[in-house]
Amino acid sequence: MATTSAALPQPARTRRVRRNMQPYLYLLPAFIVMGIITFYPLLFQVWMSFHDFGLKNFRTVNPVPAPFIGLDNYIRIAESQLQIPNFEFPRLVLFNIWWAFSNVVVHVVFGVLVAVVLNTKGLMFRGIYRALFILPVVIPSIIVATVWRNMFDPDAGAVNFLLQGIGGLVGIAADNPLFHLNWLRQSNDPIPFIPLPLAYFAMITANTWLGWPLNAVVATGALQSIPGDLYEAAEMDGASAWQKFRTVTIPFLRPAMLPYAIYGFVITFNLFFLPYFMTSGEPFGRTEILVTQAYRLAQERQLYGVAAAFSVYLFFLLLLITLITNRLAKATKSYAD
């Protein structure tokens, strides 16, 4: 449109103004709501993080103003100087990153393998398997986590019963201590040179049960987009099954799986359910992750100011992770396309 609004007659001009305003009218309801219940609290959180903010500062009867303490909350967190047991900030962050990373690797590998198996030509009952393998996804996570907590119970859990059953088949007595593992509480590490508690392995088992099916769905979609003649061409060149997988399947899977793996990393990094409902951070807070620790700081300890500083740390960690993964995605994109 070449005519400026000034040159237009009056009614057209107001119509134009109204047209310019219209996008904002469509956005208004969402942004009013988000402004009040999302953006304002987030800013308020930053303010809280610089204050010694506790229950007495926001109780409904006679609240007192919170004293400004600068960066004290941040420093106390970084130096692990909080008045709560078993809190070590560097260990918490490292465990959180390792937890997310190890899960994603296991889920992607397992999901791709199952997708490849299900995609084999001529497999019988494929539809039934596809339908049933999705079951872990449809069950709400809180139920998955609480059920697995009971499954890993030392005396009455299904996992130990199952181990006893398998042990019975090969002639090991059911009272062997190997079949009475205290999965979620045992304090000494199962593998001597790896500083991960037994509860971590229980958690990754439960989370793999929960996490691989969606990876298989994504991988299946990618597998079906591979043109069949590529495999035929590879066969004609005398490629083995492994060579076909490496040179045809993997390059086609990568553009679909990588974004999903990155997304899975962020989701698992913030996965509240398993550490909270399954292990409650046991043993000695070693399976705690950042989000569960932040929740406990506020919910159980009423350290609202500290929890706010904790959330700010969490925000910057996530930002850093996003920047790194974006670079990763870009670096491999040129290869994939």
């Binding site: 469509y26 308020f44 109780r59 996804v137 709400p140 609480t146 969606l214 996965l271 359910f273």
Partner: protein, 318 residues
């Protein structure tokens, strides 16, 4: 899905058989087929193991506090654990239906409101050009990335100061289902906007352009053309939101944990495991978990084709 090139005339039985065979022209050698079936059945068993376990526990009639072995169908299986949890799931007087009503209120209120105000914003982001579009979208994506814990702690402090006096009712906004619903909306709205925008982006613009040529206003285009086309995405987003509200724990426990009459299903469920649950028998826990999961899981299972896509791109927020 492999394309099943079955002729229409083929009788049902042989068609089902063709499907079972995988429907491919190429057959698999029998030995390989057996190996593959063993692998698939093993995976199936690992998938089903916890589900079968919880089910057989729920029909255990012995009223013992802990199971003592793996029983597929316990002797004298009965539904008495279901009857018990329907009537009186926790030590508090509230019944299962009462808990369900509270969860339902949160789920319905939050998903309906988030989708209703999310869809207009999604439309603006998808179709309209305006100043600040990019940065507003980044703000929404940024909030979407944040775990809900990061928002609810300040939100808790913020809404604790509102005392509501309305129609003879007087309550603290924070300690009410309304407060929980607000917190849930805060988590769901960015997802609703983003998910709906993603869907709207895939709808071709031809229809809207045709409507614009016919002189339809922006509002008419939105209400009469775009909205009807977006119904599937609205339904999917609303269901995923409903699922989030139905199972919400963090805010519910933080905001109303002190008042058992407002408890939701998820708070009650967590009070039935671990250290809180010395008096709860596991068959009751199992029956409760099944009653809690069943309504949403059945819907999810039958509509998974439409839902898994949305879930794979960001439906769950921890």
């Amino acid at each position: 899905m492999t394309t099943i090139a079955t002729p229409r005339r083929m009788p049902f039985v042989s068609r089902a058989f063709a499907r079972a065979r995988g429907g491919d022209e190429r057959r698999m050698p029998v030995g390989r087929q057996i190996v593959m079936q063993v692998i698939c059945i093993f995976i199936l068993l690992t998938v089903l193991f916890p589900i079968i376990w919880i089910f057989s526990m729920s029909i255990d009639p012995r009223n013992i506090s802990r199971p003592d072995a793996l029983n597929l169908i316990p002797q004298g299986a009965s539904l008495q654990a279901y009857a018990k949890v329907l009537d009186h799931p926790t030590n508090n007087p509230i019944s299962f239906l009462g808990l369900m009503a509270n969860s339902l209120k949160i789920a319905l209120a939050s998903s309906v409101i988030a989708v209703a105000i999310g869809v207009t914003a999604a439309y603006a982001f998808s179709r309209l050009r305006f100043r600040g579009r990019e940065s507003l979208m980044i703000a929404i994506l940024g909030v979407l990335m944040l775990p809900s814990v990061a928002v609810i702690i300040p939100l808790y402090v913020f809404i604790n100061q509102f005392k509501i006096d309305f129609a003879g009712l007087s309550f603290n906004l924070r300690a009410s289902l309304v407060g929980v619903s607000l917190a849930v909306i805060s988590g769901q709205l960015p997802f609703a906007i983003w998910n709906l925008k993603g869907y709207l982006d895939t709808i071709p613009k031809d229809l809207e352009e045709a409507a614009a040529v016919d002189g339809a206003s922006q509002n008419q285009i939105f209400l009469r053309v775009v909205l009807p086309l977006a119904v599937p995405a609205v339904a999917v987003t609303a269901f995923l939101g409903f699922l989030g509200g139905w199972t919400e724990y963090l805010t519910a426990f933080m905001f109303i944990g002190g008042n058992p009459n407002d408890w939701t299903l998820s708070i009650a469920l967590n009070s039935m495991v671990g250290g809180f649950a010395r008096t709860t028998t596991w068959s009751e826990f199992a029956a409760f978990a099944i009653l809690f999961a069943l309504p949403v899981s059945v819907v999810f299972f039958f509509f998974q084709r439409y839902l898994v896509g949305g879930l794979a791109v960001g439906g769950v927020k921890g």
